[in-house]
């Protein structure tokens, strides 16, 4: 049972709040001998696995560390380029650590506005009259629950597939938003929420929810 993250979207589809509650690290370490049997490419200043997924190293994973030392972009701690380092046979055997890339703030904004457009298209493609947009989305690794208020603000909660009682949690987050963001005189509508009270109360509610679901489980 876990709640992964919460997104709040303004009525125009912009991300105004995001909080990661539980994050899972997907990291794999492996020692390679020359020549390297996976194909790496450089993408957005990161080294990405392009071909040859095996042993838990999947396509899309990024290179995090070489021989135990963290990478700095595409270069090693001493400033040497990784691609040059890995091309040199005398550096082998080499220990590489790969991991699933974390979402950047930009990625999150991109995803949030993406969801907003699916929401609208789902309504347009509806085979029945008067349907809303997407309220719930299921994948094999997570579930996404959404709730749109009458004023158009959307709350999204990403949870583990077997998490229960998320509808209730969405309403609670809405309450918190109304109490600590909307009633805050310094908060302007449609702008990112930066209220300490909102954040601390949100954390409290999430922890309570997880405790109660552990007790009932």
């Amino acid at each position: 049972m876990a709640i992964y993250s919460i997104y709040i979207l303004s009525k125009s589809g912009g991300l105004i709040y995001q909080y990661d509650h539980t994050s899972i690290k997907v990291e794999v370490e492996k020692t390679f001998s020359y020549p390297l049997d996976i194909q790496l490419t450089e993408k957005n200043k990161r080294i990405v696995v392009a071909y040859g997924q095996k042993d838990g190293i999947n396509i899309g994973h990024i290179l995090l560390a070489v021989n135990g030392s963290q990478l700095n972009g595409t270069s090693l701690g001493d400033g040497q380029e990784v691609t040059a380092f890995l091309a040199n046979e005398s550096n082998y055997p080499v220990n590489l650590k790969f991991g699933r890339p974390k979402l950047s703030t930009n990625d999150k904004m991109f995803l949030a506005s993406g969801f907003y457009s699916f929401y609208l298209i789902a309504r347009q493609l509806s085979p029945v009259l008067a349907s809303s947009g997407i309220e719930f989305l299921e994948a094999d690794t997570f579930k996404l629950h959404g709730f749109q208020t009458l004023t158009g603000i959307q709350f999204l909660i990403v949870t583990e597939p077997n998490q229960m009682n998320v509808e209730h949690l969405l309403r609670r987050v809405y309450e918190l938003y109304a109490d600590f963001a909307l009633k805050n005189p310094f908060y302007s509508l449609e702008m990112p929420i930066r209220c300490e009270k909102f954040e601390s109360n949100l954390r409290l509610v999430l922890e309570q929810q997880e405790e109660s679901s552990v007790n009932t489980a």
Partner: protein, 142 residues
Amino acid sequence: MTIHNLYMFDRHGVLMYYGEWNRKRQSGMTIEEEAKLMYGMLYSIRNFVNKMSPVDVREGFQCYRTSKYVLNYFETPSGVKFVMNTDLHSQGVRELLQQINSQIYIEYCVKNPAYRSGETIQCELFKTKLDELVKQSPIFKG
């Protein structure tokens, strides 16, 4: 319980087949336009799910639900995509889509020497068998 419609896309996103049973609202577009919009949305949702997922996905996107309908998505390893819209109470739609793939599509299209992949399905036998299977399923009857 009821089934609204079914879209089948090939691996390149071309609409192979469209069937509808209890569709109560038309989108106001031609079916080609609608299929493009549908495929575009599914493509983006798949990317969205891949990124949003906290761990690596296997099958990825499975279904979404609105206040009035559920869109069920099933993709075969060869990239054929089945999309079925049902009402909110339907259960086991994924299994039905798997059946449509293995018992209807494979049998009457893939094994049909006159059928070429990437084209709209013209085969009459496919259409009648599909209609039979859908109408027999408990999801349709219930």
